[in-house]
């Protein structure tokens, strides 16, 4: 994070955040037509749903819905609801939005600042680093206090 960022600008999603897949590629998760999810899902990358979801979806990249989703959806970048797709969302936070003709879509749409939300739920917990213990070894020749 740059320290030179002007204070007046809002934090914008960084595309690099989605690149946590293998070999630095963009991570992509697919829920196929026969797949079903009940609960919450956070993806660092893209998400494609052609199955059914009851719950909350959040992705740092794009979300494409060609199946059925009931619940809140947050796409830091782009949300596409395909012509056969259905999104009944309480809250829809997206950077960009495309709804194809024929799609079912309802919910409260907020665009433009998708990252201004609660911290990511799956953030790895910081490993407590061992507190460096000052070990004083008497070195008669280098007693000037400089540590290597």
């Amino acid at each position: 994070m740059s320290t030179r960022r002007p204070a007046s600008r809002l934090a914008t999603p960084t595309p690099a955040a989605a690149e946590n897949g293998h070999n630095g590629e963009r991570n992509s998760v697919v829920l196929g037509p026969n797949d079903r999810l009940v609960g919450q899902l956070f993806i660092e990358g893209d998400l494609r749903v052609s199955g059914s979801v009851d719950g909350e979806l959040e992705a740092t990249g794009d979300i494409e819905i060609t199946g059925r989703v009931n619940g809140a959806v947050t796409a830091y970048n782009r949300l596409v609801v395909g012509s056969a797709g259905s999104l009944i969302g309480s809250d829809v936070h997206v950077g960009r939005l495309t709804v194809e003709d024929g799609a079912t879509f309802s919910g409260k749409v907020t665009m433009g600042k998708p990252t201004a939300k609660e911290p990511m739920p799956v953030e790895p917990e910081p490993v407590p680093e061992p507190v460096p213990v000052a070990v004083v070894i008497t070195q008669p020749e280098k007693a000037k206090g400089k540590r290597r």
Binding site: R78, E100, D101, G102, F105, G107, M111
Partner: protein
């Protein structure tokens, strides 16, 4: 706003801007036109320039990309390409073009949002009661 006065303004513009296309009435505003008030119109409306108030039509509403609209819009097929602030009802289909900037609640039967469009508001799809055409 005084409704009577506003309607009178609208009517005057109807006389100026009315064009017939395919035997259907169309009320067409140019980029320099301004409409403030309430327009109930049996036909379609092409809105450009500045539009404030309320527009309810039996036909379609088409808002041009350079237009600035702060109004309640209600029509069969509604196509928005400009900046619109206010509730929008499309009895059939609402299309947001890629330059559309829409802020307001939306009620539609069908919806198409092109990539690049901006929308902030509640979207309701389906079940149309009389609620929209009343008042």
């Amino acid at each position: 706003m005084d409704v009577q006065e506003a309607v009178a303004e609208g009517t005057a513009s109807v006389d100026n801007g009315e064009v017939k296309r395919d035997g259907k009435k169309q009320f067409s505003m140019g980029p320099g036109d301004i409409l403030e008030g309430r327009l109930i119109y049996d036909g379609s409306v092409h809105a450009d320039g500045r539009l404030e108030g309320e527009v309810r039509v039996t036909g379609n509403i088409d808002v041009a990309s350079g237009a600035t609209v702060k109004a309640l819009l209600e029509g069969s097929n509604v196509t928005l390409k400009g900046a619109v602030e206010g509730p929008v009802t499309a009895r059939d289909k609402l299309t947001l073009g890629r330059n559309a900037r829409v802020s307001g609640d939306i009620q539609v039967r069908r919806l198409q949002i092109d990539d690049g469009a901006t929308l902030n508001g509640n979207v309701r799809m389906g079940d149309f009661e009389h609620q929209a055409s009343g008042q």
